[in-house]
Amino acid sequence: MRRAMRIATMLILLLAGLPQAGAVIEIHQFDDPAQEALYDQLTHELRCLVCQNQNLADSHADLAKDLREEIYEMVRAGKGKQQIIDFMVQRYGDFVLYRPPVKPLTLPLWLGPFALLSLALAVYAFIVYRRSRRGAAEALLDAAAREKARRLLGDKEQEHS
């Protein structure tokens, strides 16, 4: 009996500790599942400015909480995705976007990987081309050497016979 009670207490304590282990828990009511999806998407795509490597959805920072509330209210008021993103960018700049926009300043960011990949492919192609040419030259040399060897051997064979 005492053991059963001890186990029960332990379970209760464990369960009480559970919610703290999860991510941020806030209850936001939505009338429309589309609005809920928009809220989820926005809080996952927008960066928290205080703990900079977290999005708004995961951050426990006070500012992130306020911004989630702000976004919640805007979504509830029927504002569109672009309107809410504009609201954030106006105040905090492109930095809040985990998906940076394509514009002259961010072009190196978007095109850089492709430029590096093309450069690597060009170097690779050049090396392969040079190797194949050198390989052909070596094969040619081999043929000449073989010819010479055969001739020398042939001469010896003639001497022996």
């Binding site: 400015l49 205080v50 006070d62 500012l63 105040r91 700049g93």
Partner: protein, 182 residues
Amino acid sequence: MNRKRILLFSLPLLFFGLLVALFLRGLELDPRRVPSPLIGKPAPTFTLPRLHDPAKTFSTAEMKGKVWLLNVWASWCVACRDEQPLLVDFAQRHLVPIVGLDYKDDPRDGKRWLAALGDPYDVIAVDASGRVGIDWGVYGVPETFVIDKHGIIRHKVIGPIQPEILEHRLLPLIRRLQEEPA
């Protein structure tokens, strides 16, 4: 052939040098200093209760035609403690009005904090909900904005103002802005 080879072998070295230069530059940059998109834009307007007289409000419209500073602070903000002596000293020179924005703070704590550390502000507005802070793009208290005579934000300092920044960047800017026609 030999010279070509030397050139080829020095290529990785060159690349390494380039990376080192990039990383050294990266060490100097502070990722917390996000450039504000509000610089060069009209300062967001607000009307908020005053800390010392909550029945009265302060509105940004009152500052029209003046160069002024907005200093965002809070009693819970540790870095504000470092900044306060500098601001108190600076306020005694009466060069420019300083408006305080008590950000997400209990007014009682705010007043106690000012009594202990000194009050450099001409007027203090209380932003209890943090809404005005969001409009101004505040994310790291203390923050200080320089606003010109036309109500345009001209500069922003994130974190405590350092004496060199005050003397070499803020003061020359304030003087220049004060000379501009209203």
